[in-house]
Every structure is written in structure tokens, then in C-alpha cells.
């Protein structure tokens, strides 16, 4: 069977919604939260901790309206979309695949609601309301005629309450016959939402354009009472839901004088106005056993506990730009933009690959939303997006996504050529539609880096305008042919508990060229981002579900003294016979205390440190002052701490100056490969010079290198990637290889950082620089700025009150400290893959700073 593959489209994928979340639902047991947003995705989350479980990509346009609901049993998710006449897609929750389609509703679907027994599914559309029998897809008769509805709700008896665009509320029995019909009581606003109390005795009505809620009788719709709205000025209450026990009523909408969400306890107590932050409440659901789920137009969602305090919160992922297009600062050539935030500006310099927060506007990027040469205009999109468009005809040339963390970003052309910060190529990728009945595939940009990571092209498009577009048109077909395979895990489901020392994983692979049954694809396995014993590779045929037994390494992620369950991430990554890496998938499993893997291998981890630093090169022009000392001090730190930390032993390979050669690097990486076991930690530090080329290749300049022929004696860092990929324990690399001095132009470190951190390599990276910039050293520090910050952080300045100093702590501290030391001239980069455990290279010493 051939798939109707569509032209790949670059789309953001920052791991959560970046546009307004317009639908929210939860299964009857309160295990899985489903959200759908105007970014075109539907997402499944763990209700317990907000962890992402699956992204569902519906057919049709990549963005726009979305409606979604999860069946009460939690197994199926119904997704309807923006295109009139498109079917309602029933996705399997576990594998994210479309299992079945229900015939189209004939209009754009605005809301989807399951009946409480899961047998019926209702669609509120821009036309008539449609109810299907889920089992056979037959339309269920509801006496609504052509009535356009705003909302529909079901009670336990199967009755339906419906709010019409005509301002009437109607009640239907389980067979669809009309029981009652009534106008809402006179007053401000228009009714737009309806919710049955759990016992069906009351119906709550929410209103748009006014802070108003009405309670009607659940038997005949007569008005019962009006919850007090004293002190609420402005805003509205367009969403209503009862708590699971019916003792609280939640209502929210556009924020007014007391916020966007309000709760009426049903015990006579005063109304509560929970603090949920900025944003419009777009959806509400009762949570089991208590509390509520709230979605906002910022794309975030949260779970309120019984005290109406957010217990779980999935925050917005896109930078929150304020103001309109005219507020965007743009440089003369358009390569620098400054975007207003609530507390300053986000400055993105594409040419320098820098992203910084600034307090004030800069003179080189004046506000106005148009480049100084008048060729380009910039248009902010949904959260974190900015588009560069041609001023004359509005054609998009480049799109930026800036993460809310203020560090990571990516910018891409319409074809997908891109430039990105370290870790930025994990923020977007290529969406590939498979026709109107199949879910779309998605390939993260990092997977396509070898072809599409082209900083030069991204800039050239801005400079050349339509000339660049001509180039990209030629590339389109070649780009499509280069698509790698896409793998999806279908079992076990996310969060499953593992009892043994082996887990059976089921998965599908879609063929790279869209032809089922094509050539074989190789599938490798990693656990927590690391290879497992024997490094098994499975050869599979695309289009069929394959099941493989994956042994779990002993003592995974077990820190000394930790007695809790552990989460392990099993990643399967496909590749083509010619070596192109495909889109992997990861399933997170709970490794219980009772599991064999946990019990068998509990032993204290060991630490392996490789530190190489070159100040004294054979070519005197490359001389540095402190690169060798950085390596010496790092080695001294771990030598000092070896009797105090969590590690059973510490092994150090230190090389400086003339002892840093291609051969010694290879020798020390082989030492890691041969010696490091699954529970161990390996840290690699490189200090000195490097050079890069346009293909993304990075060469570390060893002591004996000839800069005019770097490949003759330098160290090609593809060897570093390949070597560390095979190391079985946790691996982190610290790169300070762009030192200022001896080179006219700084090398580009980002492709190397992103490649190391790719899922199939699983290496955490802290880099002294990001993009094309030099790192600095100073006599006053007697180190490079990066090493000085690292040493301070390792010595206790990083992290919070805990004993362990983790890489994530170190990354945050090092970035802040280096920027401080260099007065903003050097900005470190970080890539910490989410599936890789957050290593703790050190613990806090009693005499730490």
C-alpha cells in the first residue's frame, strides 16, 4: 500500500503546546489528560505529574482549530479538526495511530464530547450538532434539526443538555427525544457552555461577555439559583464544570478583576478566586477524585488540587512576546530582531547565533517591525513564533521559534533549512502528511541535521529574498527523497511497570520513501540514552508491527541510598541501510523496587574523567595561556573529591599540551568504551582551539596540528561522537574548544553539540560557547571563563540545597556565571537530552564555597 505522502512542512515541536489550548479532557479514572491546541497537535499527558506521553498529529492543515476528547476508558482519543467534511479520527492512545475514522460532520468541528458510557460521541460544529454511535459510526438521532450549538453535555443516564447559538437550553433523553427547552434567565452575556452536575439534578450554564453563571434544574431547566459574582468586574465565565463529587462548581473565561477562574463551594462557603496566572481559561474538566483541570489560551494546562492550588502545571513553552508587529525591533538587514517581553527584550542575532535577554532596546534594531532596508517585515505568530516576510508580497522567508527558557531557539526556511542554538534543533522538525485518513508523521530537525542544518542558507534567504526561494524550490524534491524512516512504539504503554530484567517492546516503522514493505530498516536500542549490553540491532520490515525483547541493564540510574522506583527510558532508533538515522521513539517505564533489574545490580557507580587541554601548540600562533590549566584544575578537582563523592572510585586521564594528540584522544576514548559500565559516569573535558566547516564538521586542534591542514593531525569530532555513542554509562561532555586567539573567525560549535545530544548518541553537553563565538580566558581568573565557572559550580556554587550537584544545576549556574565574568561577551550552550539521566558529577563537600 502506498501512502499519499505530502510535502514536508517545518513545524515547531517544543514538547508542549505553544498556541492556545482549546480542548481538554480526562478519562474517567483520571489517569490521562488530553489537550488540543491551535498549534494543530493533540497531546496526551500523565494526569499525575504532567509528563508528556504522546503527540497526536491529525491529517489536514498543520495548524488551526482542533477539538478532542478521550473515551471514558482512556483507550481512544477522538480528534476533529479545522477542515469541514474531514472525518473524526479515533486515535489509539498508546501508539498514537489512527485506528478508525467516523464519517465527517459536514462542518468544522468545534467541540467533541463523549457520553459518560463512551458509546456516543457528540460533535458541536459550525453547522448542525452530530452524535455518532461509536461502535458502528452510525449517526445517532438527536432532535436538534439544523440548530447550531455552542456546547453539549451528557449525564449518567445518557441525557444530553445543549446550549444553542439562539440562546436556548435544550434537554434530550437517552434516545434523543426533546424533554425540555427554555431560554436562559434575562441578563448580560450569552450562554456558551453547559455542564451536568454528577447526579444530573442541576445544569450549570456559562456565559460569554459577562461574569455570569446560572444553575438550572436538571429535570426541566427551570432556574434554580445564580452563583454570586460580587466583586467580579469585566471578563466572563464562558466555561463551567462541576467537581467529580458535585460539591464545587468551577467557572472561568476571560480574566476580570479577580482573575480568570472562580470556584463556588457547595457548602455555603464563600467563592474562591484561585491564582492561576495570566491567560484566558479555554477549557475546564473535573479531576478524579477531586480538583479540576484547567487549560489556558497560552497553551498551558494545570491540575488544581482540592485546595484550588495548582498541583501540576505544564507551562507555556514559547517565549511570550508582547505587543504587535510594530513593537519588534529589526536591524537594517533583518538578521537581528528584538522582541518585547513582559520584563525586557529578547534579542536574537541570527548571524552570531546568539539569543539574549536585554533590559532595553538596542540602537541597531529599532522598533517598527521592518528591516532598515525596507525589504523585510517581521510578524509575531503564536507563542514564541516570529516570521520574516517579504515586505512587497508577504511571502514568508524564515520562521523563528524562541523557547520560553530564553536560551534555545531555531529559525527555518519554508523548506526546513535551519540554524539553531544548542538544543534548538529539538524544538522543531518536519511534519509529513499521509493523506486525509492517516496520522501525520513527524521528524525532528536534529534527525535531518546532516542535510538541513545550514546556517548559511538560513541567512542567505533573508539576504537574497526571492533568489533564495528559487534555490529552495530546486531542493524540495531532493529534500523529500532524503526523508528517513519513522519509528513508533506501540507497546507497552507509557508509564508501564516493569517487574523483570527484560521488557517486550512492540513497534512499527514507516518506510522512508512512504512505500510499505520496502527495504529493511535497522533498529537499535538504548536505555536512558545509553547502549545496552551486546548492542543488539534488529532488522525489521516497514509496515509490520515487530516485537523485541529488550534486556534492562542492571542498576539503572540507581544512586547510592535511593530506595524509590525509577523511571527508565527505552529508545528505539531506526536507520536505513545507507546509514541515515530515522526518527526514534521512546517509551518511559517504571522500574519498581521489586524488579529483577533493580535488585541484581546494585553497586556503587564509578567515575571516569578524561581531561585534555592544549595551550602550547606546535604552531606558535595558536598559543593560549590557560587551556592546559583548565584541564589540570578539572583533574585536580576530581582527584581531590574522589574520597568524598558518591563514586566507588575515580579514574582520571589527564593530558596537556604536547601530550594531547589524535592518538591520545583515541586511546582515552577507547579507555572509556572498554571500562565504563552501565551504572558508571564518564565525563570528557576538552579545552583549546577548534575549527569547523560548512558541513558541520568540527576539528579539535591537537598540539601537533598544522592549522592549514587540520585534518592531517587534528581530531575530527565525529570520532568523539562515535566513540561516546558506544560508552555504556552516563556520558557528559564539556567543550571549551572555541578559544579566542590564533583564528580570525570563531568556529561553529552548535552542530557538534546537537549531534552529541541526539537521541541515538545520548550525550549531555555543556559548551563554553554557542553558535559562532569565541570563548575567553583571563589572567585574573587564571582559567578560561568556562572552566572557572565549572569549578565554582562543581565546588558547590551550583544547585540548590540538595547534596548532589547535577548537570542541570551546573548548566544553569555556568551559563549565568560565564555571562557575568565576561560581561555578556560569552554565552555558554547546553544540550541535556530529556531521556538521559541528569548525572551528578559531584556532591557538595563540607567545605564547599
Amino acid at each position: 500500500m502506498s501512502l499519499a505522502r505530502e510535502i514536508p512542512l517545518p513545524r515547531p515541536e517544543p514538547g508542549a503546546h505553544f498556541a492556545s489550548a482549546v480542548a481538554l479532557d480526562v478519562d474517567r479514572d483520571g489517569r490521562f489528560v488530553v489537550t488540543a491546541a491551535l498549534d494543530g497537535t493533540t497531546r496526551v499527558w500523565s494526569a499525575d505529574d504532567g509528563a508528556p506521553a504522546r503527540v497526536l498529529r491529525r491529517p489536514g492543515p498543520p495548524e488551526g482549530g482542533a477539538a478532542a476528547a478521550i473515551a471514558p476508558d482512556g483507550e481512544t482519543i477522538a480528534v476533529g479538526g479545522v477542515v469541514a467534511g474531514f472525518p473524526v479520527h479515533l486515535f489509539g492512545r498508546v501508539d498514537g495511530r489512527i485506528r478508525r475514522n467516523l464519517p465527517g460532520a459536514g462542518a468544522v468541528i468545534r467541540r467533541l464530547v463523549y457520553s459518560l458510557d463512551g458509546r456516543r460521541l457528540a460533535a458541536v460544529t459550525t453547522g448542525a450538532t452530530v452524535v455518532w454511535s461509536v461502535a458502528d459510526g452510525v449517526r445517532f438521532p438527536l432532535e436538534t434539526g439544523d440548530l447550531v450549538a455552542e456546547a453539549i453535555a451528557f449525564d449518567r443516564a445518557g441525557r444530553a443538555a445543549l446550549v444553542g447559538a439562539d440562546g436556548m437550553v435544550r434537554l434530550f433523553d437517552a434516545r434523543g427525544a426533546r424533554l425540555a427547552e427554555r431560554s436562559v434567565p434575562p441578563g448580560p452575556g450569552r450562554p456558551v457552555d453547559v455542564a451536568f452536575a454528577p447526579d444530573g439534578r442541576e445544569v450549570a450554564i456559562g456565559f460569554a461577555d459577562a461574569p455570569r453563571v446560572e444553575i438550572l434544574s436538571g429535570s426541566d431547566l427551570t432556574p434554580l439559583l445564580t452563583p454570586g459574582v460580587e466583586g467580579l468586574e469585566g471578563g466572563d465565565l464562558s466555561r463551567v464544570r462541576w467537581s467529580a463529587n458535585g460539591r464545587r462548581l468551577y467557572a472561568g473565561g476571560r480574566p476580570g478583576s479577580r482573575g480568570a477562574l472562580h470556584v463556588w463551594p457547595w457548602n455555603g462557603r464563600d467563592r474562591v478566586d484561585p491564582e492561576i496566572g495570566l491567560g484566558i481559561v479555554t477549557a475546564l474538566r473535573a479531576m478524579i477524585p477531586d480538583g479540576a483541570l484547567v487549560a489556558l489560551d497560552t497553551g498551558e494546562w494545570m491540575r488544581l488540587d482540592y485546595d484550588d492550588v495548582p498541583a501540576t502545571r505544564v507551562p507555556p513553552v514559547g517565549a511570550s512576546f508582547r505587543g504587535g508587529a510594530e513593537e519588534v525591533g529589526v536591524s537594517t538587514d533583518g538578521t537581528i530582531v528584538e522582541l518585547p517581553l513582559a520584563d525586557g527584550f529578547l534579542r536574537v542575532d541570527l548571524a552570531a547565533r546568539r539569543c539574549d535577554r536585554t533590559a532595553t532596546r538596542s540602537a541597531d534594531a529599532p522598533a517598527g517591525g521592518v528591516s532598515g532596508d525596507g525589504r523585510l517585515k517581521t510578524v509575531p505568530g503564536d507563542g514564541g513564533l516570529l516570521h520574516w516576510k517579504r515586505a512587497d508580497d508577504g511571502r514568508t522567508l524564515l520562521t523563528l521559534f524562541a523557547h520560553a527558557d530564553g536560551r534555545r531557539w531555531a529559525a527555518w526556511t519554508p523548506t526546513g533549512y535551519h540554524t539553531a542554538s544548542p538544543g534548538g534543533d529539538a524544538l522543531f522538525g518536519m511534519l509529513i502528511g499521509n493523506g486525509p485518513d492517516r496520522e501525520a508523521d513527524f521528524i525532528t530537525a536534529g534527525r535531518l541535521a546532516s542535510r538541513f542544518a545550514r546556517h548559511d542558507i538560513a541567512l542567505r534567504v533573508l539576504a537574497a529574498g526571492d533568489e533564495g526561494e528559487a534555490l529552495l524550490g530546486v531542493e524540495r524534491e531532493a529534500a523529500r527523497a532524503a526523508l528517513p524512516p519513522v519509528l513508533r512504539v506501540v507497546s507497552p504503554e507509557e508509564g508501564s511497570r516493569v517487574a523483570g530484567d527484560c521488557v517486550l517492546i512492540g513497534f512499527d516503522v514507516a518506510n522512508p520513501l512512504g512505500v510499505e514493505g520496502g527495504g529493511e530498516v535497522s533498529v537499535g536500542v538504548r536505555v536512558d540514552g545509553r547502549p545496552i549490553a551486546g548492542e543488539p540491532v534488529f532488522r525489521v520490515t516497514p509496515g509490520r508491527t515487530t516485537r523485541v525483547a529488550v534486556p534492562l541493564p542492571p542498576a539503572l540510574s540507581i544512586a547510592a541510598g535511593d530506595d524509590g522506583d525509577r523511571i527508565v527510558h527505552v529508545t528505539l532508533h531506526p536507520s536505513t541501510p545507507d546509514g541515515r538515522a530515522g526518527e526514534p521513539d521512546t517509551v518511559s517505564l517504571t522500574l519498581g523496587r521489586d524488579s529483577a533489574a533493580f535488585a541484581d545490580g546494585r553497586r556503587r557507580p564509578r567515575l571516569f574523567v578524561v581531561a585534555h587541554g592544549v595551550s602550547d601548540h606546535a604552531d606558535g600562533h595558536l598559543r593560549l595561556r590557560f587551556a592546559h590549566k583548565d584541564a589540570l584544575d578539572i583533574a585536580a578537582f576530581f582527584e581531590w573529591r574522589k574520597s568524598q563523592g558518591p563514586f566507588a572510585e575515580t579514574n582520571i586521564r589527564l593530558r596537556t599540551d604536547r601530550h594531547v594528540t589524535r592518538e591520545t584522544l583515541r586511546e582515552d576514548l577507547e579507555w572509556l568504551r572498554a571500562g565504563v559500565e552501565a551504572e558508571d559516569t564518564a565525563l570528557v573535558f576538552l579545552f583549546g582551539h577548534g575549527i569547523s566547516d560548512e558541513s558541520g564538521r568540527f576539528v579539535f586542534l591537537t598540539s601537533d596540528v598544522d592549522p592549514s591542514r587540520p585534518l592531517a593531525r587534528g581530531f575530527d569530532c565525529r570520532e568523539l561522537v562515535a566513540a561516546l555513542r558506544a560508552v555504556r554509562g552516563g556520558v557528559a561532555v564539556f567543550l571549551d574548544v572555541c578559544r579566542d586567539g590564533g583564528a580570525e573567525e570563531p568556529p561553529d560549535i552548535d552542530p557538534l553539540v546537537n549531534e552529541l545530544a541526539a537521541v541515538e548518541n545520548g550525550v549531555a553537553v555543556l559548551s563554553a560557547t554557542s553558535g559562532r563565538s569565541f570563548s575567553l580566558e583571563g589572567a585574573e581568573w587564571r582559567n578560561g571563563a568556562f572552566a572557572k565557572a565549572l569549578l565554582e559550580g562543581l565546588d558547590g556554587a551550583a544547585g540548590g540545597a540538595g547534596e548532589e550537584i547535577r548537570l542541570s544545576d551546573l548548566a544553569v549556574f555556568t551559563r549565568r556565571r560565564v555571562v557575568e565574568l565576561t560581561e555578556g561577551r560569552q554565552v555558554p550552550g547546553t544540550a541535556l537530552p530529556t531521556i538521559v539521566r541528569d548525572l551528578a558529577p559531584a556532591t557538595r563537600a563540607a567545605d564547599s564555597v
Binding site: 592546559h628 589540570l632 585536580a636 582527584e639 589527564l654 599540551d657 587564571r782
Partner: protein, 126 residues
């Protein structure tokens, strides 16, 4: 620099790296827990403090701000003939090594090996 007090033998560690001093200090303390260990971050400080410390053994880094470690070692040996000096370094040029050997200075590599430290501390007075 702390004073020696009433303890047994004394060691002076001269290195501009705090972590290098801490690592060496820990190694010495593990071998000779009752010995007094003093620290100095550069050659000038080491020379002024040596009289107070009355060190029997001196570990000295080669690359330091101000005078290099071997020059400082020469000054120490010219003033205190009963002191043993070790040059602690990861990397040394042949010419420097020859000069050091002529002075009777011992080499200890970085990262430090406890066995090398132990062997040095077992050496008697010159």
C-alpha cells in the same frame, strides 16, 4: 600561611590552583595524617612563609604566576639545604627536566599518584 605548631614534619604545597592544593593536601593527609601541611598560591608567598613553616618537604607547581616553579625551587634549595623539593607537573620540557635533575628536584606527575607522593615523603633529608 599557618604556622607549624608542635606537630611532626611539615609539608608546603605551592600551586596557584586551589583544587591542585586540595588534592595534594588530601593525598598527604591520607599518608601522614599527623604531619603539618601548609599552602601557598605562588612562589613569592612560598619563600616568605618557608621560614615560619620550616617545611621538610615542598611540592611545587611549575606554571605559576610570577616566577616559575623551578626558579622558586632553586631559591628554596639555595636557602634551605635540608628541604626536599618535588616539582609537580603534567608536562615538562627536556631542558627544564635536566635543570631540575641537576638540582636534585623530584618530578611528580599530574594527576597525582599516591604512590609517587608516598615515595617522595619517604625520602630522608638531602
Amino acid at each position: 600561611v599557618e604556622t607549624r605548631g608542635d606537630m611532626g614534619k611539615a609539608v608546603l604545597i605551592v600551586d596557584d590552583s586551589r583544587f591542585a592544593r586540595l588534592a595534594l593536601k588530601a593525598a598527604v593527609a591520607a599518608l601522614r595524617p599527623d604531619w603539618f601541611v601548609a599552602e601557598a598560591a605562588d612562589g613569592a608567598t612560598a619563600l616568605t612563609s618557608l621560614a615560619e613553616v620550616r617545611a621538610d618537604y615542598v611540592f611545587i607547581d611549575y606554571n605559576m604566576p610570577g616566577e616559575d616553579g623551578l626558579t622558586v625551587a632553586e631559591r628554596i634549595l639555595s636557602g634551605w639545604s635540608n628541604v626536599r623539593v618535588a616539582l609537580v607537573t603534567a608536562n615538562v620540557q627536556d631542558a627544564i627536566a635536566a635543570r631540575a635533575r641537576a638540582l636534585g628536584v623530584v618530578f611528580i606527575g599530574k594527576p597525582i599518584n599516591p604512590a609517587d607522593v608516598a615515595a617522595f615523603l619517604e625520602m630522608g633529608s638531602p
